[in-house]
Symmetry: C3
Subunit: 303 residues, 3 copies
Amino acid sequence: MALRAALRNKCGLSSLLSQLSSCSSHGGVRVSPAFIAQQRNNSSSSAVKVDFDQSTGVAVLHMQSPPVNSLSLDFLTEFCINVEKLEMDKSCRGLIITSSQPKVFSAGLDIMEMYGKSPERCGVFWKAVQEMWLKMYSSNMVTIAAINGSSPAGGCLMSLTCDYRIMADNPRFSIGLNETQLGIVAPFWFKDTLVNTVGHRHAEMALELGLLYNPSEALKIGMVDQLVPEDQVLTTAAQTMKKWLAIPDHARQITKSMMRKPTVEKLRSEREADINNFVSFITKDSIQKSLRMYIEMLKKRKG
Amino acid sequence: MALRAALRNKCGLSSLLSQLSSCSSHGGVRVSPAFIAQQRNNSSSSAVKVDFDQSTGVAVLHMQSPPVNSLSLDFLTEFCINVEKLEMDKSCRGLIITSSQPKVFSAGLDIMEMYGKSPERCGVFWKAVQEMWLKMYSSNMVTIAAINGSSPAGGCLMSLTCDYRIMADNPRFSIGLNETQLGIVAPFWFKDTLVNTVGHRHAEMALELGLLYNPSEALKIGMVDQLVPEDQVLTTAAQTMKKWLAIPDHARQITKSMMRKPTVEKLRSEREADINNFVSFITKDSIQKSLRMYIEMLKKRKG
Amino acid sequence: MALRAALRNKCGLSSLLSQLSSCSSHGGVRVSPAFIAQQRNNSSSSAVKVDFDQSTGVAVLHMQSPPVNSLSLDFLTEFCINVEKLEMDKSCRGLIITSSQPKVFSAGLDIMEMYGKSPERCGVFWKAVQEMWLKMYSSNMVTIAAINGSSPAGGCLMSLTCDYRIMADNPRFSIGLNETQLGIVAPFWFKDTLVNTVGHRHAEMALELGLLYNPSEALKIGMVDQLVPEDQVLTTAAQTMKKWLAIPDHARQITKSMMRKPTVEKLRSEREADINNFVSFITKDSIQKSLRMYIEMLKKRKG
């Protein structure tokens, strides 16, 4: 059983932290040889870099925000602008999301956006997280997550919004919505996305225990769809994309909307309430204290 | 993973088409040795033939409309009349659906009913498809699909309405809701039936990609319940029926209704809107063009 | 496939009955060596016995109502009072439910409470069943079922309310909601609990056929989470509890509530109607006749 294994194995929080902090001491950007600079994204200061191949209609979005692609307000804003541009571009039919950072896909929501910030700022941040999810989960493009590193919390959420998930088969990597391990709570739309992917029971266990799964456990419960060697994640994503693009867009899009619309509409209709919930929860003294302890632990590991 | 295999394997649309068109060149009806003519269905022109065994309370409905049991308006009307008769007959407790055609259970909705027809006629046709689903999915009888051949699209839907699905373990056969491959879309109640059977995530992939599964893949995701050698499909269905009939009818029926009623009521309450949706979609120029191309491809294969 | 195996194997109703009746001829209470009498529950006439360890914050509730822990009105009342006490005690964070009776966890609802009783009394009984479910399914404590024997019907329901299920790996034990085999029907909230645990399709088959699964089949469909040798059920439960208690309570509790609240609210809002349904169903002549035949069969087996 994958869940027992996840409870038992070494891909728990501390292991993840050591991975992530060792990443951050690297800080380097692994540049794909196939990398082709694109005009609208050729600034080296960009948090994301988009390669759009007009001949295939497929864009690859590289997350390249050192050290661990944390989802800060700036990152999310830039991410959403780029996804929106591609969504509007009728020649773009498919989007592959991947990471240019070593060992990590995305470490999830940037804790610094939630610690010691004003309620207003927290609200703006949360709206950006919602926006990323809404754009991705209801995208008309075929979306594939090429998960070439660990992907906890918000990184897992981003993966779950895609149509298909390919993960590097490296047992040191992990993926999951581990919010409870940090004393915080995944909101209902994180939960809905997970239930839609792995079913009610696996979601219940995963969320209550804040489980991080290694790749083979994640495959077993359906949190990812396919494992490949680390150096084949992107090429497999490109091959898989061809199969998805063989389906007529209009039929696939109507079908995707039929599957996901109820989940999307639920957040759309409760968006303000969800922001208020988040802000009142995250600004509590007890939660701020938990976050401070967590941040201090991270600093010690880096030191 | 079954889904990757389905994407990769040879049971795709073209393979299915070649199977179905090779069937149609046969055109013969395989008559079961156990066949017992029944008065009300002894006309050789009937699309379906019902053997009802009073001693067991079990009816076997043989679909025998050459070449591939396409669900035309005539076929559906005759099918529904026969199911309704059995439903009203208190001595009939179980219904096994199977095919008398070689290699195919049912090829699904008859495309000729959707191509070049008036909106009125399309509406009448769609109402008959709804009727088949409503009757079968909410039947008080124990219903078992003895799937002795390929079962794409509407053929798969008919299988999914049953309480139990036994499929011939022949890797050349396939089953699935492959509508998107033809540029059309399975409506919400096809989707609901599939989600109820294989869960949300498998349904999402299956429907967006229009996947056709070979028998072992279908078993793996739960689209069918059991595989047996081709010549044992009917006998296994009869044995399985005995186990289902060992349960007191009233308790089983109330339980079945509890499981399926919300799904049934959803279509009942939106029946007219669903017909209008279908008619306006299928009569679009672009969809008619897709269907014409598909029909021409079928003709070439036959020629 | 677990379901086919369950249909085929020997853990059917008659096998279960023979197990249960052989238990009842024992009538002995297996006392755990680790048993520590607790003041508030040290009466030997108690149906349940609670060991609460202040140092770990974990209580173990032993069901010890000979012969088979039937859920009578008295039993349920005592069970609920004890759970309520622990729920109110802030120092109690985890609850393990197990049986002190040999070979059986709980045989489920006490049939004698449903046979030959007044409608009023049936209503009071059913309210107590609801109360047990409501308390357990929405408990703020971590709840683990240490299933050290067979667990049909109401015994299975009690297990399903827990956060985690560990079952003794003894092929003679079985678990399942087998109500239809007795001609009665599991109500919607039994069904909802099962769907939340094993998904819609497995729940449909399990409930319509009243399937009893042996431990390995139950594990395969997710009805239980883990199998261990019979003498390690309690120690494994205690170890597992530590992992659950490592998660901050507030985050875990909010998450659990998010997962289960809709299911809990559904019964809360329809509680009276559900009682009326039960009473009018169970007091029917035909149902009373079924129950009498069942009770007579049980008596013959004991004789």
